[in-house]
């Protein structure tokens, strides 16, 4: 008996930090996480960058937590006064913040091996919402946590990435999308009707078109994505055939590429 098709899990990313909104720091976490989630077959539905304001964090987390299967936050879990993510997420779900014994032990051990004092500010990083599950931090010890469907990660890209690597295998994976690129030696506007027709004729695929220009040359990369590999391949063939019929060159560069 065949299983009913499960839709892919959905996700949202919330980047928390005034320094991103001011333009001083450029966010690198959305693009990186988007790529990881895509490769795992998890559909990223939305990403938001919000300020370090407790009520904004609470509202945003509750909104996206209700609408997506998984939420990932980045930023605001360090030792300083402006790190308010933990408090805000605990408040969002009506949980107390407790000094977490396991987190405290890990941090204590970490600071014993350094010249740094495990002072009150650093101890704050062991404060975790009650009932949360810790996310291991292989780089700098201070853990993240999971509360409900919200996965709380730090803002520093290298630490976020190392922590996500350990987290990834716990996440529900979807079916990885098949993505096929058809390189077309013609302008986007010339093949717009072809793309609309091919998309309409093939169920469950979506077609994006990305024009590119360089001196003396131009073209359009057409990306066909879909859960059903065979249908995506048929759609790619249909695009290539129809574009060639206009007199322009077209070739499939990544048939069967599921990355």
């Amino acid at each position: 008996m065949s299983q009913p098709a499960q839709p892919n899990p959905t996700a949202a990313i919330i980047v928390i930090g005034d320094e991103i909104l001011s333009g001083r720091t450029k966010d690198k976490n959305i693009g990186w996480l988007a790529e990881q989630l895509g490769a795992m077959g998890i559909t990223l539905h939305e990403a938001r960058i919000i300020p370090d304001i407790k009520q904004v964090i609470i509202d945003t987390v509750l909104d996206l937590s209700a609408r997506c299967d998984l939420v990932f936050t980045s930023g605001g879990i360090g030792p300083t006064h402006d790190d308010i993510t933990t408090d805000a997420i605990a408040a969002a779900f009506g949980k107390q913040v407790i000094r977490h014994p396991e987190a405290e032990a890990v941090l204590q051990k970490h600071y014993q091996n350094t010249d740094l004092e495990f002072n009150a500010a650093r101890q704050k990083m062991a404060d975790i919402p009650k009932d949360a599950t810790l996310i291991d931090n292989p780089l700098s010890a201070a853990p993240g946590f999971i509360l409900e469907n919200v996965h709380v990660l730090p803002g520093v890209p290298s630490i976020l990435q190392a922590m996500f690597e350990g987290l990834a295998s716990r996440l529900p994976g979807g079916v990885v999308m098949t993505r096929i690129t058809v390189q077309c030696a013609t302008g986007e506007g010339t093949i717009a009707t072809i793309l609309a027709n091919v998309q309409a004729a093939h169920n469950g695929i979506s077609i994006g078109s990305y024009p590119w220009f360089k001196p003396g040359n131009f073209g359009t990369a057409v990306v066909i994505s879909g859960l059903d590999e065979a249908v995506a391949e048929q759609a790619a063939e249909a695009v290539a055939t129809a574009v060639k019929a206009t007199g322009a060159d077209a070739f499939i560069v990544a048939a069967g590429d599921t990355a």
Copy 2:
């Protein structure tokens, strides 16, 4: 009697595009716009990346348009079937989409100079919500628009940046700068030294350069900005004269344009 202090205007950015959420394309517009707005004294309150889904665009635009003084969107205004931003924003404000005569004339003229047909798909880029104000596109002609407090820009970073340069001095909180464009029929790398020399020789101006390519043709739009109109005009003349001395055509397209 002194005026009461005005709080800084607030802004939100909405990046519209499945290709950003899938991780295939990394967003560059949020960081760039955040920096520009910050330098102008406009407070960026939130940035969102959302999918190409009409109802999501409508809901997001209405939400942020009500909560912020200024909204900027990026993406989804090209010629293909997945470019639905214009329709969605018109629908959000209960406006019809009309074939805009000025936009149509600009596009028609643009495509006359190319091998590309001004076909139905490309004509779609002249469709603008009723009562919207056009935003000039010095690179690829297809205009953006302003409807209510929403500023609709394309997704390609170089085009978005060139269009924002022209828009910036119209925004509240922005210092009113003189901006002059010099269109140069040559590559950016060829005139880099000229631009550096002209900038060094003229106090208080800054020079941006935006290379553009179309089939069989390419050039560089040089944008000179400064608080002192006379100095900006001298710098524009200096750029045009020096570029012409290399044998390439150059002409000032917007002397004294403070828009």
